[in-house]
Amino acid sequence: MTKTMAMEKMLNKADLAAWMGKLETHQLFAPMLEDEGVWNYAPVVKAADVALDQPNTVRPPKDFVFPQRETLYRFEQVRGEAPVLTETLPDPQPSVVFGVRPCDSRGLVRQDIVFTKEFDDPYFQGRRAKTIFVGQACKVPPSPNCFCNSVGGSPSSEDGLDLLMTELDGKYHVKAVTQRGADLLAKGGALFKEASASDKAAVAKAHESAKAHPQRPIKELGKVAGALKQNFDSKAWDEMAKACIGCGICTFLCPTCHCFDINDEVTCSSPCKGERVRTWDTCQFPDFTMHTSGHNPRETLGSRLRQRVCHKFQYFTENHDMPQCTGCGRCISLCPVGIDIVSVVERLGQP
Amino acid sequence: MANVQETAKDEPGFEPKIVAFLCKWCSSAGSDLAGVSRLQYPSNAVPITIMCSGSMSPMFVLSAFNKGADGVLVSGCHPGDCHYLKGNFYARRKIYLVQKLLQFIGLENDRFRMSWVSAAEGVKFAGVVDEFVKDVKKLGPQTRLKAKR
């Protein structure tokens, strides 16, 4: 997204609802508490339900641009004849996602890279173009496992966002990062006041102190890739993966993970009708790389843990000069058995 | 019953799709007898003949609902009459469990039924189907487990 001149405004907390009210051209989403005690993005029905200062959502906002299931196209084929293929590019209603944490928006930046390099991905791009991400700067780490600072981010990073909101007693400081963010701001009209110098100073201070909040450290990020390469054959991979149950939590819910599977879902066998569908997949599942012959280049849990960590901290870095991890800590907090990417990097990714 | 308020479901033109799994030796033979006796019953239940009710995998039931069946019927030999000695006893236990589970997740009770029909019970077979179709008709189309396709 094109960067625009910094535009900084103030919004009374109480006016958030009013601003949202003016955005009826867009569908609004924000973190909300589901019945089962899980925070997730949900459509805003009542602005009062919106709670921006809560723990981060379980599902990252990548859902909005890379949903877990996407129909690529429909097919219909009478035996022996040419099939009719119907392209089903997404045409979503424009939407605004509130409450996006900086780590998650930085995840979007990584998704952008994947879905535009070499070949364009029209499904991703179609959704990306229609979705505005409004960030929420963290004042304290929302989880004990946050480590955004260690991976080149910060609790107030603007990467991948259109707007960044920072809470300052009773008010929000709202900064437009992109033009479409600015446009969204503009819709609020008079609800927004220009940020004063002192507001700006207060925000800077808030960002500063959030950044200073202790987090889990990865010491020498610049040397991680090299060290991982060195340690490719280490026995420690197997040892550290001992507890891993090979589920997909760490990867499904990672804001940067982008792997998927493509399958045909048949709704009628004669004539053959159905959809070609892509769904999230994960390198942690054994069949991910398994050939039909049964040969599997990454058969063990250890080799799959290595793939996850090395892909994030070595391969992606080698290609794009940034780790494919934004330090949200989800994979640590949600892993059922305590596999901890920070410890792994500490152990095998340090010179 | 919760369905009372939902009688609107009882659409006039609704013809339920029912899969009837019949064991080859008793119930399928029973249905043959119903045929030979020219008994009339609704055409909604499409029979699939399996070797024995004992070979009735729970997957078949669940899959039929997933594929859009409005009702599923399983029918086998009376206890003690199994052509394969005791296949139907295994079936009874398994089907019981499946039924309890379906009820628990909230599928309407009347959508899944098991019956014992012997080769001599043509009349019973026709009756079982007749009643089942009536009961399922009352419920309307099955939407809960059906895949959106």
Partner: protein
């Protein structure tokens, strides 16, 4: 529509030839594009073939770039899609998208002797290179082809290979003794060692089962071939073919984009996860 990389073009099966019978049967398909808007490809590239309702499979394009009008694929029956492909008849329509992957640097090899070493269905990916070399006679040095299978029934392109004997050295082999077999008996790597092609001004191109490739490379190196004069292709599981689904990722490479063709020198740099 054309920019949607996931959407296949339609191809009609113009011809089917049974190459190898049995449990792991191989058939060769000539597929022509239905509406003429096909694509051009280079040696070593692949295409995703779709059987709608079953799925897609990545298959090497086995015809040479100079062959126009159809693309050739030799497909081994092994799973859902390939079995469905084997069930198709001439005239049936499949989806084709591509071309994907890098290519053999054929142009750089002008004037060199080319040693091809294939096993089983692994002859297919290198076949276009062989065809190209023979097509541009004079541009390349001596062409020799080593090819083997478990039995003589497992060898594909037999008639073509026989025809080729005037232009190239053909060394066939079968794994075990067999009535009427006059050529080499033993594994392909042993045949290579036995015939000992000279590494001078030569490029070796090999493709086949992983275990075969391993020993072929070992033997080639003993013969004096250097790492950057040995080429091979690797097969990793693929779904999208365009570097997004993450499946074929090995080290920093996505095989569907950065591969499948590798010099041994380059391949050694990747983690051994193929």
């Amino acid at each position: 529509m054309s920019h949607n990389a996931y959407l296949p073009k339609l191809g009609r099966i113009a011809a089917i030839k049974d190459e190898v019978p049995g449990n792991r049967a191989i058939k060769t398909y000539q597929i022509e594009f239905v509406s003429g808007d096909g694509f051009e490809h280079d040696c070593g590239q692949c295409a995703m073939i779709s059987v709608f309702g079953k799925g897609e499979s990545m298959i090497s394009i086995a015809s040479a770039p100079h062959v126009t009008g159809y693309k050739q694929f030799s497909i081994m029956k092994t799973g859902r899609v390939t079995t469905a492909l084997h069930d198709l008849n001439v005239g049936d329509i499949v989806g084709v998208r591509g071309p994907y992957g890098n290519k053999f640097p054929v142009k750089d090899w002008k004037g060199k002797n080319l040693v091809f070493i294939g096993g089983g269905v692994g002859l297919a990916p290198i076949w276009p290179v062989i065809q190209t070399a023979l097509h541009h006679k004079g541009s390349y040095g001596k062409v020799s082809v080593f090819y083997g299978g478990r039995t003589s029934r497992d060898l594909m392109y037999k008639a073509d290979l026989d025809k080729m004997r005037e232009q190239a050295d053909i060394h066939l082999s079968v794994d075990a003794k067999e009535d009427g077999w006059k050529e080499f008996v033993g594994f392909v790597p042993s045949n290579v060692k036995d015939k000992a092609p000279s590494p001078d001004n030569a490029i070796a191109i090999t493709c086949g089962p992983p275990i075969m490739i391993k020993f072929v490379i070992q033997n080639l190196k003993e013969l004096g071939f250097t790492d950057d004069n040995i080429y091979t292709t690797i097969e990793n599981k693929m779904k999208c073919g365009i570097g997004k689904c993450g499946r074929c990722n090995v080290g920093k490479d996505y095989v569907c984009v950065n591969g499948p063709v590798y010099s041994w020198a380059a391949l050694k740099e990747l983690p051994p996860e193929y």
